[in-house]
């Protein structure tokens, strides 16, 4: 093959100060839609080279909004642009022998393949962990709905069905009404983050111990065993026989005090003022320190309807005369436990988050510049960076084929037959 290890940035190159933390790590990305691409995005944004194999026609995320300036198009998708920063795109039809051969030439050159195929698809395409590890002794992370065995193995999931089964949907919402999902596609993105941990764990094991291995993550299991109150609720059931359920009403759920969402002049705030120091800070925040003195120091009094009525006549006018910004500033001044409910436009318009750099200005070859929700963390020595916008469909097909040693004639043949695009 025509490639030198430098060109491929082989993981074992050792030494030298690198600009990015994952410099030299190469990831083969066989995921699509949301969960898998979020995992590989985290790796790409930290400096890994992520080669994404797109099916002919492209990743389904390209068909998901929002659209840049409300104008649809496969490159204009916000879902696509967010989830695929810093990646390369090669379009391969893995059902063709020639497309398969490209995959097999790629595999020995990567540190890890991240595969989001369902068991049925993987068996059809020969992309099961066993099949891929027969080609090369590299890490293969399989991200499935329900794992590789068990009664639900071949079942489908949507974000909603995933949160229903794996997550703590049952206790979200109000008693007597239907349980509620989270906003957007949060439960899928959470699973992607977990897969990134596992992928990096595997890369560490390779670099430190010289082992390449199979790694399995299932969406169902990630939700069951981590997110929000789910592990706690299941453990509580096992311990006590109590089932976490939807409350009769929103509001204080603990013995005494206030907790929940309250209206104000320009929206809502989330407030927790439970008995103790939080209650005293709350009393100070609303300018009524006398509420911090007896009988208000007694949680039993705080839990009475009389106490609530007495507080409400002071609290509601105080809130409704003030904006979220004013209220949050007052809360921060006394360390009260309160925060505003932000909408997307609030988040984008917020000067503090802008100043901190939450929004990244991305340059795209054909779309021009646009803002993108940026770094989830700041690393002092190896900065997170968008070095390249999400790739156009097949943007890197030809270059990668050339790197793999295909000559002009064979590349043209791959493109002509549709094995690559």
């Amino acid at each position: 093959m025509a490639l030198s290890s430098e060109e491929w940035g082989a993981a074992a190159d050792g030494g030298g100060v690198s600009a990015a933390a994952l410099d030299g790590v190469t990831v083969l990305d066989l995921t699509a839609h949301i969960a898998g691409p979020y995992a590989t995005k985290l790796l790409a944004d930290l400096g890994a080279r992520v080669i994404k194999i797109e099916r002919p026609g492209g990743d389904s995320a390209r068909a998901l909004g929002p659209w840049l300036h409300d104008e649809p198009g496969p490159e204009r998708s916000g879902s696509w642009q967010f989830l695929n920063t810093n990646k390369q795109s090669i379009v391969l039809d893995l059902k063709t022998p020639a497309g398969r051969e490209v995959l097999e030439r790629l595999l020995p050159r990567v540190d890890i393949a991240v595969v989001g195929h369902t068991p049925a698809v993987a068996e059809r395409l020969r992309t099961t962990p066993e099949a891929l590890r027969e080609v090369a002794d590299v890490n293969v992370l399989s991200l499935t709905n329900f794992g590789w065995s068990g009664p639900y193995r071949d079942y489908a999931l949507s974000e909603t069905a995933l949160y229903a089964m794996g997550g703590e949907m049952f206790s979200h919402g109000l008693a007597g009404r239907e349980p509620l999902k989270l906003g957007g596609v949060a439960s899928l993105i959470q699973c992607g983050a977990m897969a990134a941990i596992a992928a990096l764990g595997a890369v560490h094991a390779t670099e430190v111990h010289g082992i390449a291995q199979r790694v399995d993550v299932s969406l169902f299991d990630v939700q069951l065993n981590s997110i929000d109150r789910r592990s706690s609720a299941i453990l509580a059931w096992r311990f006590s026989g109590r089932v976490n359920a939807r409350p009769e009403a929103a509001g204080p759920s603990t013995a005494g005090g206030l907790a929940g969402v309250f209206p104000c002049a320009d929206g809502y705030v989330e407030l927790t003022a439970s008995a103790g120091p939080y209650w005293r800070r709350f009393a100070e925040m609303i300018g009524h320190p006398e509420f911090g003195a007896p009988p208000w120091t007694d949680p039993a009094w705080l839990a009475t309807p009389e106490a609530r009525a007495e507080i409400d006549v002071v609290l509601y006018p105080w809130l409704l005369e003030r904006t979220r910004a004013q209220i949050w500033a007052a809360a921060r001044g006394v360390h009260a436990i309160l925060a505003p409910l932000f909408t997307a436009t609030d988040l984008y318009g917020d000067p503090v988050f802008h100043e901190r750099g939450l929004w990244e200005q991305v340059e795209h070859e054909t779309l021009g510049a646009f803002p993108l929700l940026g770094r989830p963390y700041l690393l002092s020595e190896t900065p997170w960076a968008v070095r390249r916008a999400a790739p156009r469909l097949g943007q890197d097909t030809t270059a990668i084929l050339a790197e793999l040693g295909y000559d002009r004639v064979s590349i043209d043949e791959l493109l002509r037959t549709g094995a690559a695009a």
Partner: protein
């Protein structure tokens, strides 16, 4: 299994609290790091080991189950060792106690830092500095350390003094406004904590990346993860619709932000039996129509495409609700899935514990009984490696359980010094009387 763990040989000096911080170090401990939880017998960290240090059974009974469903409803004398809310994030870790506010305690902490590769913390702003442990001091003790800070809103900017738990940070990140019933104001929203573990996962990812850089260059670094900023990444579509199109989305209820229609949660036969159903494509809708027996309302050509179904979503939901209501949730789930329609039962905590697939596949491991809880199926890491044993290796660390290990083995404290530190209250397996109100 070769038994070689990815983070074998990496030690974490762990000052984290609540879920966000404790889950970050948990994932690293799962991968094999020797995670030493630094605890103080004189300081009760809220929402870190239990709802409260003293928790009589009648009080626990009125708190939500996830927070206070202790064994047999009775937290007993040590709620911090058997809280369902928190002990699961202390798996695979060790616990040692020291009063770091006193000079000799701080000296012990510094000795631990000197043999640590990572220091992680999400204490209220200024807490570590007050102890005399700012970044410069930490790096003077251990120059190549990776420091992980997980502040709520960052270490710079106007929001640094903001205080909150997961529910509040979710509010700023845009989570709360995007959920709830479509016909109700956000004021009816109950608290969720979607961001806590999400933040923890990112803390682990950033630390893994920093450790790799350190291995290759010998250089540590400081990671700052502002929880609200990180949590915003759970809702990129909404955020970008705001940035690109000026749209401030509200809640869609149980409808799909991906344009799937129908997409909802419906009551099935019986008490609290709910079924989630999504048609993720026109093909899935066609499969559903067949499954329903091709009734006239469903077979209407206008509904064959998603756009047509979205226009008729109210009517479709009403028809489906009526059709699902008399039917058995679990049968319908299996039958719909076999027919090619995406569906899933809303599993309560009990349902999840008893679910036939989860019992077979979920990463639960049986823990032996301790003085504080009975033998229990316990959550383990939700990933498996074919060669490295990244599972649940050691049960949640009891308070002060590893004092001997840390003081004697790790720090080489002499018998005499150990006895003195114990007599001075640094070394303990319970909280001090003032914390317990005794």
């Amino acid at each position: 299994m070769s038994g070689k763990l990815p983070l074998e040989g990496i030690r974490i000096c762990d000052f984290t609290c609540v879920w966000a911080g404790q889950s970050a170090t948990m994932y690293l401990a799962d991968l094999g790091a020797d995670c030493i939880k630094v605890e103080n017998p004189y300081v009760w960290n809220p929402a870190t080991r239990a709802a409260a240090p003293v928790l009589p059974a009648p009080v626990a009974a009125v708190l939500p189950p996830w927070m206070a469903g202790h064994p047999n409803g009775d937290p007993g004398p040590r709620p911090w060792n058997n809280s369902p809310a928190f002990i699961h994030v202390i798996r695979n870790k060790r616990s040692f106690t020291v009063d770091s506010r006193r000079p000799e305690g701080l000296a012990i902490v510094k000795r631990l830092i000197a043999v640590s590769d990572v220091l992680a913390e999400n204490l209220a702003r200024g807490t570590l500095e007050k102890l005399g442990l700012d970044d410069a001091v930490i790096r003077a003790v251990r120059p190549d350390i990776v420091i992980l800070h997980l502040p709520a809103y960052g270490r710079t900017g106007a929001y640094v003094e903001g205080r909150g738990y997961g529910a509040h940070i979710d509010g700023v990140a845009g989570s709360t406004i995007l959920r709830g019933y479509r016909d109700s104001a956000p004021g009816t929203n109950v608290q969720t904590f979607a961001g806590d573990f999400f933040v923890g996962m990112h803390g682990a990812v950033a630390t893994l990346a920093a450790l790799r850089h350190r291995r290759r260059t010998g250089r540590g670094q400081v990671v700052e993860l502002a929880q609200a900023e990180c949590s915003a990444s759970m809702f990129p579509q909404a955020a970008l619709d705001g940035a690109w199109n000026g749209r401030a989305a509200g809640s869609l209820g149980n409808r799909s932000s991906e344009g799937f229609a129908p997409n909802g949660v419906f009551a099935a036969r019986g008490d609290e039996q709910w079924l989630a159903l999504s048609c993720r494509s026109d093909a899935e809708w066609a499969a559903l129509v067949d499954f329903l027996g091709r009734p006239a309302w469903a077979a209407a050509p206008a509904l064959a495409m998603a756009e047509g179904r979205r226009a008729a979503e109210d009517a479709i939901e009403a028809e489906l609700a009526a059709w699902i209501a008399p039917r058995d949730r679990d049968e319908l789930f299996r039958d719909l899935q076999e027919a090619g329609v995406t569906a899933g039962p809303v599993l309560s905590a009990r349902d999840a514990a008893e679910d036939p697939h989860a019992r077979q596949s979920a990463a639960w491991r049986r823990l032996d009984a301790t003085a504080d809880y009975p033998a229990t199926e316990f959550p383990a890491p939700p990933f498996t490696f074919s060669h490295s044993d990244v599972g649940l290796r050691t049960p949640p660390a009891l308070f002060g359980e590893h004092n001997e290990y840390v003081y004697r083995e790790l720090l080489g404290v002499s018998d005499e010094e150990y006895a003195r530190l114990a007599a001075d209250g640094h070394i303990a397996t319970t909280y001090a009387p003032e914390v317990l109100g005794r």
